[in-house]
Amino acid sequence: MSGTGVEIRDVARRFGPGAAALDGVSLSVRPGEFVALLGPSGSGKTTLLRILGGLDHADAGSVAIGGRDMAGVPARERGIGFVFQSYALFRHMDVFSNVAFGLRVRRRNRPPAAEIAERVRRLLSLVQIPEMERRYPDQLSGGQRQRVALARALAIEPSLLLLDEPFGALDAQVRKDLRLWLRGLQEEVGITTILVTHDQDEAMEVADRVAVMRAGRIAQFGTPDALLENPADAFVAGFLGEANRLLCTVRAGVAHFEGDALPPLPVQAPEGRALAFIRPHELLARAAPDGPFTLRALRPAGPGTRLVVTGPRGSFDAVAAPDAPLPRRGEPCALEAQAARIFPA
């Protein structure tokens, strides 16, 4: 198996009247790359994935996979592996038959039964459930179903793998294990993979590049580092990583925070009113008898204890300043921002 590139150009899709599900999306995925489509629900990420898989069509724009225009090519002729949100395993077939399905329905060059069996077993050991082949889907745990769905999609040796919220139905620990395993598997198989998720941790951890989607458009497409360091707009900054939001006014390269809650901070931003995003580790709290904030909660997390403080403008996540003693719960304190991302408000 090897990966192919995906070229999405100005794709639009509208369901009935109202806002478009996709509003001119362009995206270029390199062969063998792992890309995550990240966005809140209703941002159009699943619609885009379904159009790639041939399960929906674009009203405008074009999709090319491996250099071939996909217009008018039905899903069954695309040879794309699709893993559905709810897995969509065939409930009346056992695991073996589920994985073998894509090979058995072939009209041209269907492999002989022995070869199908061998390939199914190889895939089941690849997804680490070789002992499950006679089980039915309702006898499997969520994580096992996920692995069967993946093996079934890989059985047709697709050049592109599409995953729709593949970990959505799993509990937190299984999610974490499975996504690391998936990333390893993807590298081993070398298949171009596009994953849809609303979970930013998942996207940032697993993908080479992340496309942040909002209201049917791609807000920003880049590596996880680039997105965190240089968010393109306030939406991306707010969506990625936890951040405290604070209104401020920029005058002569200095941000003055609303209500003078924090000391002014030198920034590089255009003059005028703006919204500042300050990550918890950039916000230092220290005990101060006349400080405007009160410490509400402490969450020890090794070095850099996280603090929750409240003040007249709401509640903030901060860390304890390293050069001062840890404030106590209920004590007044002051905050100081060390860095911020500023976007015009």
């Binding site: 898989g53 041939g54 399960l55 039905p74 899903a75 069954r76 002729e77 695309r78 040879g79 794309i80 592996g81 699709f82 559905f84 709810s86 969509a88 395993l89 065939f90 409930r91 009346h92 077939m93 056992d94 399905f101 894509g102 329905v105 072939r106 009209r107 039915y136 006898q139 079934r152 999609a153 059985a155 047709i156």
Partner: protein
Amino acid sequence: MTPGPAARDPAPLRWGVAILAFLLLTVFLALPLAAVFTEALRRGWGTVLDAYADPDAMAAIRLTLLVAAISVPVNTIGGIAAAWCVAKYDFPGKRLLTALIELPFSVSPVISGMVFVLLFGAQGWFGPWLQSRDIQIVFALPGLVLATVFVTFPFVARTLIPLMQEQGRAEEEAAATLGAGGWQTFRLVTLPNIKWALLSGVLLCNARAMGEFGAVSVVSGHIRGETNTMPLHIEILYNEYQFAAAFAVAALLALLALVTLVAKTVLERLSGRREMVH
């Protein structure tokens, strides 16, 4: 599963409800059915067999089976198609189609029959056209089949729609991404998922197709030995005070219905057991 103490009703209440239900079932269902069989057998097996040997009775039995043999497959295919459309696709007019599927249940069977007379009868809209080509629909087999198909259409569709809606489209979509064509998807994915419900709907449809009286009565014309189905034949015998013969044929019809019900129950058991074993 036994409910916890809080959910358990006091014993007298439970027994009271159970006895009431049992009494109602006995009075309204079991007794009449038992009456049919005892009445049929009162003058011995000889009378019963004589009643069946009567050429008009034989013709009625044959006709009933023939009408069912045509209507049930038609409604099976039509019902699957209708349920498929309603459950798996969104299209303008879907609500209207769903309502239309229910129509035969809500309209009196007599009206269902009259509609066909109005359309295809000698004075009907297409009557002259049909007559000039010597095609007989009303008062003949085609009319009986049409009326029966109309009246029994909802059974298969109604049984399938909730199940198919609940199952959604995801498995069919998965099959498509794996390279399966439309017919392969239907045969390998859709059909196995609905087979037990389908069988149950087909059996109910069959029971009703054999027992339908109202609509069939209007389009039949009551030609003895030709267009009388079993229910119509029973009515004629009864009106002619041939009670023994009437009950004999009625018993046979009831027996066919009972066999259908037993078959349905057995199938449901089997499907339930499979779910647990596999």
